[in-house]
Amino acid sequence: MSDFSRRDFLKVATSTAGGLMVGFPLLSMGVSKPYEAKQITAREINAWLVIEPDETVLIRIAKAEMGQGVMTSLPMFIADELEADWRKIKVEYADVNRSALRGQLYGDMTTRLSNSVSESRLMMHAAGAEARERLIKAAAETWGVRPEDCYADYGRVYQNSGAQSLGYGEVARLASEVSVANVKIKTPEFYSTLGLATPRLDVPAKVDGSAVFGIDVRVPDMVYATVLHNPVPGAGLQSMRFNAIRHMPGVIRALRLGDAIAIVAETFWQAKRAADMLPVYWKSNEGNKRFDDTIKREFFEKLPSPGEVMMRKGDINQLMDDAERSIESDYYVPYVAQAPLEPLNCTVHVQEERVDVWVGHQDPEGVMDVVAQLTGVSRYKVFVHNCFMGGSFGRRSHMDFVIEATRIAIQIGRPVQMIWTREEDMRAGGYRPMSAMRFKAGFDVEKNLTVITNHSVTHSIEYDQDKNATGVDEASVEGLVDHPYRFPAYSFSHSRLNTHLKSWWWRSGGHSINAFAMECFIDELAAAAEQDPLDYRKFLLRDEPDYLRVLDQLERKSLYRKRRPRRNTDVGMAIHKSYGTLVAVVAEVTVESNGGMRVDKLTAAVDCGNVANPMTAEEQVEGSLLFGLSATLYGKLTVEAGRILEDNLDTYEILRMEETPEVEIHWELSGGEHWGGLGEPATAVVAPAVCNALYKITGRRIRSLPVRDYYLTVK
């Protein structure tokens, strides 16, 4: 925490041409208005908040809203310390340039790893408390009394005697000038706003069409672009014949962007039509023209190799030899897409001394830097106007689409909105990595587990970004090497295998891959030990009180021990910790005699320590479960002659209303100082729980995703 000094702030303000860009007042922003620069007012109490004379409290957040509710949960920390009237709260994004100029004043502004609350929390507590003390001091000075004789409540400062009170707006100007020291933040028992189910502040703008997503930005004199990529990634561009589309209505230019082509036109539809008509000759890369089965086989062929051992205990080979019985299972997941419903887009205006970028992005600081690099304009003159994201799920942390839009804008000289069609969004995507892994386990004569080994082979995101990367990509093995189970002897090893396709983050990262295999194999261990899967987990987790507590809760609240209504209905479970949050889930699944299956209900028990906003917390767990279920049932990209076959939402299916099971969430909060993430953790447990249930019903193990490869889904 620094930069609460008003003098510092003024220096910043005057050093930035055209005043500071401070984001936009999201709740008051109308449709199709261009971004407008706004001057900071004199009522900025500190870098995180401004209080207007009309008592409006404008709170800044340093994380991006992509549906996870940070626009509501983060302001709650400030409002709570501030003793604000919640009805007076407005929110805007913290200024990226200001943060860069002031040594990361707002901390790391990247939104990732489900850590928005845990990363911002203490800064926001401190900012709210600091502002509260300033307001109290300003009011005390106005009255000529001591600050100790005053207190703040619900947007006003009162004298302890009850004699007088002043609204925050009335003392805000003075509060911005006084100094305070030794500010203390609240202890949890005094929280007034935190912990209350609070409706999302961004909801009203999202039910009347006024919320501005990146694709909705309308800047004067703006043109549109769409981009074509070689459907076989990495193969490159031979040539195109622009003359064939030159005279089509609205067409302005076609540009080569390395291996891609941008078509620029007066409207998006004109650009798209021209792109559809443009004769393009892509280079052919025979090495990349592979098929799904070939690629999959390469992953499986690598399984018997030793790989790089990450952790090991005991004489593995001897124990395997000594085993009375051993089991071996191979697991596999294909590439899957994030498929956020808003196709990737970015609007850029490059001028001589400044660049404006309108984009919904998880990493606005990264956008600033990459655009500065491409344009040669100082990063302090690159203004990133972050917009609402129409979903991201990791995809909008990549720079690929920002780089393309910037390169187009550099050449066009007018503001350009680049929109990838859905087809490009699917084909040129950065996918959740493909992975195969082999588990082996040995048991003694009394069916006790004596040894377990794992070798995973996974496409590395890190290596896609940096061909000099060495060692094991941590993201490839998260959830495996940090598993909580007490195995008597074990070995976990890993091999990297990258293909010509690009991989990237996908809600819950490697956890969704590794928890699927691990939690399914735990059920296989239980079966080999002739024990109930939940009981067996309790046995393996006997030294983990947090896990046991969550399992107990799940057992009590779910249908796990209840009688099944039908023989073709049963339950499966899984438990996994990621991003500081423990989630256990029971899936109730039905298999019909015609080979169809359906998930009837998901019951989750969750421990993330503390919850800021129970309403958005519940929404995030439910959303994560359903995101996981969608991938469990349908998630699969097929590689055919090097290209991705599923190029739109008809072939890449997403869970719909009619397949959505009942969802029940039970909180088992351990409290303390722990604030675990909620945007991702529940995603990873769904696939294993569903597959474990299917085994109980049919006796057949599902060891690869999606489930649709085995069962029809019943609506």
Partner: protein
Amino acid sequence: MRFNVNDEDIEVDVDPETPLLWVLRDNLHLTGTKYGCGIGACGACTILMNGHPIKSCLTTAEASQGYNIQTIEGLSENASHPIQLAWIEGDVPQCGYCQSGQIMTAVALLNDKANPSDEDINEAMQNICRCGTYSRIRAAIKKVARERADS
């Protein structure tokens, strides 16, 4: 070409083959109607034509003439339509991108069936929500139906 959008007669110079979606978004700057797939698979572009839910990404400008076109912007003043109020009260949207299409589809459903069953809702609400707000959408639709029955 002449259109009637949200009770206003509007003249736009546009290729007759242009999908209505892009006329709304790029020519009229009514950006509440969203592009999701361009092939009628996701429902983000749903608008009402004479009260019927239509995928505006598949409907040409030419074919849209002579109809009363209603978009999310024309649904009410200040988000006061009962469906919008139910959406707010139920805290339905997450990322929010699909919700204009969801709301317009729900408006048409409730105009067609005052008290839709779960099956009716499943059948009508084919719009994709990537964030998984389906159960809250269902609850909001039922709430509006209940309130209408009570009043």
